[in-house]
């Protein structure tokens, strides 16, 4: 069942995408390093095509794991020695800002693919949208490719922002589980501080209290969840999320700083149905 559930949409999307893509599909690649991924779009300049892949074949508001590979247009060969970085930008009517994102680094054990993540904390709308600039250097020579990208709103809330008492803004994003199931799921979130319009560093050593609820089921909660603690190696927060049934789950959150002060969020009680800080899962 799972096979069809996940592979079938990918397969269908692949077919659709392959119809619209160029005829360079026939390029011989010994190992398909982007297997299982779907191309979202290409950013091209005069020398290269920067191919952007995600698992779903599109960007979405919230956390996005992004894989990039660069093709030399002259030789049709994928570049394997680039140094890369990126800048996602939201162009709003009144201002522009970036968003939390990681470094873009070569995937270990692979030749041609580079990976990182971007947390789009807001979706595009009719007047405002995102663009992505990829800067890369190959053998000391710098290149740049840029394009508008489409970041539609997610069906459920996968990212949220809040402001603490001191006026500092934060972004909280759901990273995993991507495919939740009725079980104890590993849950991962990212927490970022909005230092400036361009700087969103990872917030370290906070703690996220987790209380998953089903509002449609009398606010049923599940047992044996674990609050999310900071993991320095991944620079993310990991915990456990128990889901007792399929459906819509509201992940009520409380975020605590190193001193244990609650920056945002409230306990769910008989009288308080949900926390003001929450993310959502539906499956």
């Amino acid at each position: 069942m799972k096979f069809f559930k996940y592979i079938l949409p990918i397969f269908i999307s692949l077919t659709i995408i392959s119809c619209s893509s160029d005829d360079d599909e026939s390029t011989p690649v010994e190992v398909n390093e982007v297997e299982g991924l779907i191309k979202v779009q290409e950013l091209t300049n005069s020398t290269h095509a920067v191919e952007i892949f995600t698992e779903s074949g599109q960007f979405e508001q919230g956390y996005n794991e992004i894989t990039i590979r660069v093709k030399d247009l002259a030789t049709n060969v994928f570049v394997d020695d680039a140094t890369m970085s990126w800048i996602p930008m939201m162009n709003m009517v009144s201002m522009s800002h970036s968003c939390p994102n990681s470094m873009l680094t070569k995937v270990s054990g692979m030749e041609t693919i580079y990976r990182g993540y971007i947390v789009f904390q807001m979706a595009e709308n009719a007047d405002e949208g995102w663009n992505l600039m990829v800067n890369y250097s190959i053998a000391g020579e710098d290149f740049e490719a840029m394009s508008d990208i489409s970041v539609p709103a997610s069906a459920k809330q996968r990212v949220t922002t809040f402001m603490d008492a001191e006026g500092m803004r934060y972004v909280v994003a759901l990273i995993a589980p991507e495919n939740p199931d009725v079980m104890v799921n590993d849950i991962t979130m990212g927490v970022y501080k909005m230092e400036s319009m361009m700087s969103f560093p990872v917030v370290e050593n906070y703690m996220i209290k987790l209380d998953p609820r089903m509002p449609s089921m009398g606010n049923h909660t599940s047992p044996n969840n674990e609050d999310l603690m900071y993991d320095a190696s991944s620079e993310m927060y990991n915990g456990k999320l128990s889901l007792t049934m399929t459906g819509y789950w509201k992940l009520n959150l409380m975020i605590l700083n190193e001193a244990g002060d609650v920056l945002k969020g409230e306990e769910v009680t008989e009288t308080n149905e949900s926390s003001s800080l929450f993310l959502e899962i539906e499956f």
Partner: protein, 665 residues
Amino acid sequence: MKKTIFLLVSLFIFSQAFSQETENDTIKKVALSEVIVIGKANLKNKNDVKLLSSIDQYLEKSNKVTMIKRGNYAWEATLNNMLSERISVTIDGMQVFGACTDKMDPITSYIDVSNVSEVGITSGQQGSEHGSTIGGGIDFKLQKSYFDKEELTAGIETGYETNGDAKTVSSEVNFSNKKFFINTDGIYRTSNNYKTGGDNEVLFSQFNKYNVSLVSGIKLGKNNALIGSLIYDRATDVGYPALPMDVSLAEAIITSLEFQRDSLNSTLSNWRTKVYFNSVTHVMDDTKRPNVPIHMDMPGWSDTFGFYSKLNYKKGKHSMLFNMSGFYNKSLAEMTMYPNDQNENIMFMLTWPDVRTTSIGLFAEDEINLKENQRLKVTARVGVHNNEIKDEFGLNSLKIFYPEMEESKTRMLLNLSSQYEIKHKKSAFLFSLGYGERAPSVTEGYGFYLFNSFDNYDYIGNPDLKNEKSYEFSAVYNYTASKFKAGLEASYFYLNDYIIGETAPDIGQMTIGANGVRIYTALDGASLFNSKLSVEYKISPSFTYDGHVSYHLGRDNDGTNLPLISPFTFKSALQFKKNLFDAEVNMTSAGQQVNYSSYFGENKTDSYAVFNLNASYIFYLNKNKLYAKAGVENIFDKEYSTYADWNNIPRMGRNFFINLSYTIK
């Protein structure tokens, strides 16, 4: 306890005080077992049941069995105040398991009187022939003809009851000769909502069901025979007024093939080998209920394959019985809830995570005639029992509670008993000792958020439960004289690792409106005490008086009452019999339920007394026979409920019934 002993002793003395002459009686009074004869054969016997009573009503008339009622249909049999997970209920030795997680379909609901010729009820460990048990065994014998002189019979029976406008019709056609027989029958029952005493309608107490069966045998040579049976039972639109959900479909197919060999040599006989399969589908439904907080579907399936092979051995003083049996059961149940916001995904869970149970057991019994008046009977059963969760989704669900749990668990089960009987003049004494073990049921081991409307908690199974163990002692005294018979019986069970639900305060309920979650756990110990006095007195050749008094107690080691323990009960009947006319007036009553368990949602159910009256006559029309019976139940239209009524759902008020049975030969 002191009170109980005092009561017992005084009852004992009381019963000793009567003494009359001896009489040979066909009904064996001295035993921890009882046989209820059902159907046609019953016409000649006791007159206390309606002809077209359901199996449940027959069982209710038994002095050993009490029926737990969640409505007017599919009652759950209890023996020694123990419910279905503690007793072994089989159909002709076949294991059948209900497919409902809420016990709305005890297997007795999948057979009907048209299928069954008699019910064997055995108390305690002596009832472990067909499966490991704590409280005892109930086995339904399927009705079948014998290889006899050529005969074709047909019969039609109809019944009508005013309360609930209940109609029953059944028919059968049987053919037999010396080499072949075939029995076919069908029965259809339908009832609207019944009314309680005081004329209050009990909503959602309707039911409809039909049952057809076919049994056929062929003789293979002089000594051997092959017998096949098929039962199909289907109930639809069944209401359960005591529960939050009804049933749109409860369906079972029960099949078997048996090879019989009457004798092997001078010592071995009655070799019976049977293979069987049954499949049960049960669909709960709440679409007809107003104001449900959330609509849900709860279908369940239970399929069982099994076999047994049994053999009698008789030599000298020893009469032995060996029975090797095994089964493989698959139990799966789902719950799908539909959010009020239709854009939301449906909510789905597995409430029985496709549990496969494999069980094999060897039972042996030896009845030794020590002296003319003394008899010793020992039984032993050794079993291996394995549960395995086949569905990964289900296993992962349970791992939320038990992260370390294994998908498979194997247990050894042991059941032992010994019984000593001594007769002296008009008296007979019987003492029995037993030790038994049982594995947790699928619900107790692997249930996932099963709502119990009795205590209003969601229940979670516990795969780490140990075997429940029972130490039992029972004693029976019977006095038999020509006009007077009395029997006194007491049994005591001490249960170790008694399986029961315990509130888990930190876990949130799933069911909207539930009080919380309970997890099956084991109490260190619990005690169950049952005692009963029966008397029968022939006042004159036509009049017989029958009386029963029983007292029960169930407590855990801390002295807390266990749930569903009967209060003091008293039954009394006066029968009149002359030629082909029979009549009876009887009374059933119970004292106030003083020892109730508030932890499990019980309250102090009031005392009551209910009176019933019936009469019957047999008309012979040439070779054909017409049997007519009519009566009134709950004559005074008393509004009452008993300790065994789920959520104190009131019982039926006044009910007039009439049954007609016509047999063509």
